[in-house]
Every structure is written in C-alpha cells, then in structure tokens.
Symmetry: C2
C-alpha cells in the first residue's frame, strides 16, 4: 500500500478513508458495516473516554451496565422510539447452532432452539433502562437518578463509513430521571454544555450549540439538543446530542414516584450520548494531505524523539541525552516515545509520525550532540526549529499548548469563513453549492419547507442555535414570516 494519501481537494472522501486505514486507526471487518478499531485509534478513544468520564463524574453521574439485549416487548413499548429504530436493528432469534446434516463440518441454526421472544441488540438503551428504573424509583428521595453507561450499540445502517457511521459503534449513553420538568431540561442543557466544552477544549473542534427541528429529533424525545461541527469539506457533523425525553419513557414503562407532597407522578427523563463518531470528527477537523493532525490533549503520543545516528556508539551517546529529555517531559505529564528501532531509517520514521499526527517530533543527531541542540518539528504547521537541549522540556511544554490553541483557532477561522448568511433562496442554493459550510437563513418553521429545501439542495437544518437572536425576516423558501435564523448544511 502506498504511503501517499489522495489529496483532499482531489477526493475528500477517498482521502478520509485512506487516512483512517494508513494511520492505523481502524479498518473494515469481516462483518458488514462493523469496524475493527486498531490500537492507535483505540488509544485516542481511551483518551476521549477518560476526559468525558471525568466530566460526567464531576457533574454527579455514576456508571452502570445494562443488558445488550432488549426483549421485543420492551423494545416496542415506547412507540416512537420503536418506530425510529425498528427498521435497522439486529435481531437474535436463536440460542444454539448445531451440525448441519447436509454439510459436514458446517453449522446451522438449531430450529429447536428458537427464542420464545426475539431479542433486539440495543440500538440505544432507553427501553431496557427505563424498564429497570421502574424498580429503582419509588419516592422523590430516589431522584435525581444520574447514570451513564459505556457500551457498544448496533444500528443496521446500509451505508457505512469508518467511525462516522458503522453498524456497531462504541458510545456512552447517559440516562437520567428527575422529579420535575425544569430539572430534566436543565440536565439536558448541562450535558450539551459538557459536550461542547469537551469538543472545544480537548478536540479543538469548535461547535455550534442548538436544538434540532422536529424532523431531526431523536425518536421518543420532546427536544433534542445538539452540538454541530463543520468539517473541512464544508459538511456538518452532528457530534453529540442530549435529549429531553419528557415523560414519554416514564409513561411507556409506568415509572412513577411519590412526590414530597405525597402525590404519584410520572418521572421526567433525559438521555445523551457521544460515540466513536467523534474520532471521525477529530480527523476531518484538523488533518491535512500529509496525514493525521492530532490536538495534543488527545494524542496518544504527544512527543516522539527520533535519533539520527551511524553505529551503536553514536546511538548510545544520543540515548543518554534522550533519556534525560524523556524523564523531564514525563515529569511534566507529557507522553513521549523514543523510537530507537534499528529496522527503520529516520526518514521513514518521520513519515510515519507525520502520518499518525504526533504533535511534536524531536530529532537529534551527531551535530546536535556537538552543538548541544535538537531539532523540533511541529505537526500542525510543519515548521522546524533548532533549540538548545537545556530548553527542551519548557519549550515542548509550551509548544504543545500553542499547538492545541492554534488548531482550535484555525478551525474557528475556517468555520467563520464558511458560514454564510443568506436572505434569498438563490443565495441559499449558491452558498450550498459553491462552498458548502453553514448557511444561516430564515425558515418558516414547517417540516414541509424543510423537506423541500432538502430535496432541492441536500441541505438539512443542523440546528436552531441556542444563541440565535430574535430577528424579523421571511423564510428563504416560502416567504412566510420568521423570527429567527437557523443553520443549514449538508451533513454526514
């Protein structure tokens, strides 16, 4: 396989697919639509998990684990949720294989081992969890119930892409129960805020916070809050959602509590999730034609040190220096890899770490030893600089912060340059067609208009931004009055 990537401007989609595989992040598996997350890709997910988990716990949530399977009778209990997921779910019907009498050495489903009730492999866990909450919630004293689960889920998507849309994916799903509507709404907003903070501060990926229109809402929710990011090809990515579920699941599963006043009331609910899709967003926000670009805060390896040497003796002298850097950097909590493999030449190593997006590369050779210097290269701008050995740990530590900030600033600038405010449908079509990006436009609030705009332009309403100002205008499509601009884009 060639080390060279297709260029983004030639074929963005091909560039993405090649990058994911060549940077050792993930690959397709023998199971249609399911991916294998390779160690380097999984290490990014582990870093994401660690930060998110910390943020969830800081906001009072605890982890738990609920079954993979949802019995059909529970799955169908909340009607809209069932309708939304029935079309794309994996169904377990049997619990045994047996030798196939017609084909020696082959197995077949044992017809006598048919389940009385089919089991759906969870596409999301509201049903199984709310059926459980029924037993956990009796009184207002049991509320709020603030639970999160890290799990795999399955949605039988027909068109899949590594990380962005896969039949099985990893995610976390928060499921909370509250005594009042106001409290549930405030929880849903809080988690949208947590997601936005994570996206911006750790992924260096700016997001627009908003709520979904009726047609894009989660099946079974009253309101879906979202964070929307803009990818380099001008398409939007829904990066995380937080749902206010009203009393829909409480009613479907009959979950009531006795209030302080002694009244029986249905519980109010939220659910919220982000998934391995975030890795796709991370890639498409920062990476370039040379490969992956990772923000330091989520990079499995933040600094790689490559020795340039001839012979064992030079390597030893270099290693002695490097061990000092490694120690100093690790003392600052920086993850460092010293790549002293003798099976690869420095040039090959440089290319590998560039492809894998390691934020900072340090090279040190014979002349550096003599001069007391090292060469530092940053992945984001590809700039190189020679610095004194005594400055290494401070310099690198500052540089990592600078890279993190620079990536965020660049992404914000890109989004600003690719957000267009339009007032007519011609402008709208032009904007979507020419450069894509976010298009801010007045909309009459109807699903009909939304559908027609989608049909004509492929753009959908990504969200009604939280900070949308009241502004009198007319819908770009129907000309009917509108009081707010919403954000349109083509989307992943």
């Amino acid at each position: 396989m060639s080390k060279h990537l297709t260029k983004r401007e030639d074929d963005y989609s091909k560039w993405y697919n090649e990058l994911v595989v060549k940077a050792d992040l993930a690959e397709n598996s023998a199971v249609r639509g399911c991916m294998v997350i390779k160690p380097y890709g999984f290490a990014i997910w582990e870093k994401m998990q660690a930060e998110l988990d910390r943020m969830f716990k800081e906001t009072g949530h605890e982890n738990a684990y609920f079954p993979l399977f949802v019995p059909k009778s529970l799955f169908e209990a909340e009607e809209k949720n069932a309708e939304g997921f029935a079309k794309e779910c994996a169904v377990v019907t049997h619990y045994r294989l047996q030798n196939d009498p017609d084909k020696p050495g082959k197995l077949r489903v044992d017809p006598e081992a048919k389940l009385e009730e089919e089991l759906v492999v969870r596409p999301t866990s509201e049903a199984i969890i709310w059926n459980t909450y029924k037993g956990w919630i009796q009184s207002y004293r049991d509320l709020p119930l603030l639970i999160n689960q890290w799990a795999n889920v399955v949605r039988w998507e027909m068109r899949t892409r590594l990380f962005l849309r896969t039949a099985e994916f990893l995610w976390q799903e928060g499921h909370t129960a509250h005594a009042t509507k106001a409290e549930a709404i405030s929880e849903a907003k809080q988690m949208q805020e947590v997601y936005a903070t994570f996206a911006e501060q750790f992924m260096a990926m700016p997001v627009i916070k908003g709520s979904k229109s009726d047609s894009e809402r989660f099946a079974g929710a009253e309101d879906t809050l979202t964070i929307e990011a803009l990818m380099q090809d001008g398409k939007a990515l829904q990066a995380g959602t937080s749902h206010f579920l009203g009393q829909n699941f409480a009613k479907a599963f009959d979950v009531k509590f006795t209030s302080k006043e002694g009244k029986q009331e249905h519980v109010w609910a939220t659910s919220w999730g982000v998934s391995t899709r975030l890795i796709g967003g991370l890639i498409m926000t920062h990476s370039d034609d040379n490969g992956l670009v990772l923000p330091p805060k989520l990079a499995p390896i933040q600094v790689v040190i490559v020795p340039i040497y001839k012979g064992e003796e030079q390597l030893e002298a270099i290693s002695e220096k490097v061990n000092v850097f490694v120690k100093e950097l690790r003392a600052k909590g920086i993850s460092v890899k010293f790549d002293n493999r003798d099976t690869f030449r420095p040039g090959a190593k440089f290319a590998e770490y560039e492809l894998k997006g390691v934020p900072v590369r340090i090279a040190i050779g014979k002349r550096d030893l003599e001069n007391g210097t090292v060469e530092v290269a940053r992945r984001d701008t590809l700039e190189k600089q020679t610095i004194n050995q005594v400055d290494v740990s401070d310099f690198v530590s500052n540089l990592l912060e600078e890279i993190q900030e620079n990536l965020f600033t660049k992404a914000v600038d890109f989004r600003t340059a690719n957000t267009t405010s339009v007032d007519t449908f011609d402008e709208f079509k032009e904007a979507i067609k020419n450069k894509g990006g976010f298009v801010s436009a007045h909309w009459d609030g109807t699903e009909e208009t939304e559908d027609k705009i989608k049909e004509i332009t492929k753009a959908t309403i990504r969200c009604i931004p939280n900070d949308a100002k009241e502004e009198n205008g007319v819908c770009v499509f129907s000309g009917k009055p509108s009081s707010k601009r919403v954000l349109f884009a083509k989307a992943y």
Copy 2:
C-alpha cells in the same frame, strides 16, 4: 425488602444472592440470564479494570476493539472452538423489525430482512480476531502482536447466577501472536502470573496457579493455565484463565509469517481473560453475615464519615472538623465519603455501609468534639476504637493497609484449613462430603477416572498445580501409578 441477610451457614447460596442485591451490586434483568450491574457494583469493576489495564500495559499490551458479531463461516473455522461454543450462543438472523399485521402496535421480525449469513454474538473472540490478524501479520517484524480488548460477551448458559455465571458478561480478552512456541508459552505463563498478582494483591484472594486437565481445557487450546480460588462454602472458583493456543487458530485462519530466515511459518498464539465473575469471587472470599466486606484497594468508598448530631448548629461544628479529615485523607489518595444526609439516622447509615462493605467508618458526635476524638470502626473485624482527631489521617491510612493484609491472611488461613491431602478414595469422598475445600490427591491422568470421580463426588480437577512436586503414588480411584498430586474440588 428486609435489611437482614440469610446467614451463610443456613443457606450460603441464598446469602450470596441476597447480598448481591441488597448491597446494590447487581440485579437480574428482563432478559433471561442477563444482569444489570448497578453503580456500586460497577464502581468495583471500574477499580478492577483500572488495575488490570495498568498491568496489561506495563507488560506491553495495547487495547483495541473487534466486532461484536462473528459470521457463522468464521465461527466454525476452528473446529474444536466452534464445537465448544455452538451449543450456547446467541444468533442474529434478521436485521429489521416491522409492524405485525396481525397485532396492532406490535412488531415482528421482517421475513424479508433475513441475513444471508447468520451472525453469532461473540462468546469469545478468537475467530473474529484471528481472521483480522491474517491481514496484520506478514513478517517476523510484525510479531509479537500483543493486544487486549475490554468487551461484553454472550454465552447462552441455562443456569445463571449474578456475576458468577450470566448469559452476558463483561470481560477482557487478550489475544497475542508470536513467532515461536516458546515465546507464546512464556506469554501465557506471564499472564497467569499477572492474574495471580492481581487476585492476591488487590482482591486479597489467594489463588492456586496450575494447568487444566484435558477435559477442562478451553475449546481450541493446547494448554489452559488457571488461577483457582477457594470460596467460604468450600467450593472452588476458576478466577482467570490463560491459554496457550498452539498454532490452532493460525492454521484455521491461515495466518503465516516470514521468519528471519525467510521461511513461511504459522504463528503461535495465546488468549487470556478475566471477567465480572471476579466480583462474585471477591464477595464470596471476604463477606460475612452482616454484608459485603471489601478489600480497601478495590473499595469504591474506602472511608465513610458519619456525623452524629442534633440540630443544624452541631452539624456545622462537626462538618468543620470533618472537612479537615476529608482533605487530609484525600491528599493521601484515600477515597472518602462524608454522609451528611439528614434523611437518614446514624444507625441506618451504619447498617448501610456495613452492608456495602466500606472498609473504615468514622463516627463523630458532640462528645467527640469536646474530647478531640473520633470513633473508628473497621469492617473486617467489626472492632471499634476511639482515637485523637490529630491522628486520623495516619491512623486510617495504616488501618487500610492492615485491613488489606488481614483479609488476605484470613483467606489464606481458610484455604489452608480447607485443603486436605488424601491417599484413598474413602478419604477423598469423606473430605469432599464433610468440609469440601481443595482435596489434593493422586490421579492416573485419564479422563475416564476424572469422569467417574466427578460422577460419584461432583468434584472435578481444578488444576494440576504449577508447584506440584514429583511424588510417586497411586491414583486414589484406579490405583494406577501417578507421579503428582492434583487438586480436586466442587466448583462454581
């Protein structure tokens, strides 16, 4: 639900089931044989995971993620493995539900959405992983491949018990590939050692390291190494296994590498796993008739502080003191909970934390304020002691270590007292029947004898201990010559 537990001597099995539920560890779900792991139980699993994950990484392993589903054709590729798991696997046959025309509001499997090839929900991942490794391994340079996965697996067990045997459980599975047989064997041994260290140093659960007899070996393995623990009711628990897989999977999936000498050879493999079953072992090793007893190193809450007060003013004065303790203890890395809920009385709180196995409880009331003291109670021995407030952090820190050691010593003593060496089959039967425990006996090495002994006594060979001495003797059952004693027990 009564707070009182059945006593262990009255009904050990009932005591266990009640304890798991009452201590808020787990409960049965709406899905046959699948459990819900509640936040308190899951917090123990998270602690286990963190330590194990660290140990795996320290021994050079990386995490990755492979698909939940195994296509039938891959599942059946390694014949023995397939045979071992075919009888108890969940099979996905369809990918869609539709409205049931006969039952309004109900769903049914869409007969047109039948999969061309059935998918088995992984009972273990050798097949899907070795099919992937085929693409990853070409040369000796790609070896060793040292990978671990944290995942859920499903085995359709007919008789299930919370944590000990459930249809779905959480585990980690390591899957490694090596250039030589010797290296693979040494990896399998290393991981047995890692498991034993974890069991003894963190769970305070002594284990016997050994290998399995042919009949108890993992389906598809050449050799299964095990760690075996003894529960309080005299039954053994297989707590972790590490398999030397030979070239079985490499041959089944045609995974070859080019050696340094340029020859094409099949790869050598291991796999190894521990699961949420460990939580069952933890419970049954230490807990008592009052509830759970947790070793400090795995306790989600190591210290709980309960204020004993009348009125807001006293609580404030106490809280001021407690905040100092909390700060001091946390600075030492100790997890502390200050339970100042006003909805429960101190007695109820004491009972709750006893049931939940919190290692150290500190109580502080009005008189303590006056005397500059607190009352410290340890969960393992139920002893209480009054100490000076200035000593709290040092005292508690030492006490936690002491409790950890004491639990291990007690468990070792129990095992010693419940291990019997026998030379005749009468003695054997007597030992198994009267007190259970481990029975060390000579065995002729045949499966036939093993089966007969099992039929008569229900005891199985738990392992051939690693440290079994060469010793001439005769099989307790057949009288045939034997050179080693093996360990029998009834087992979970």
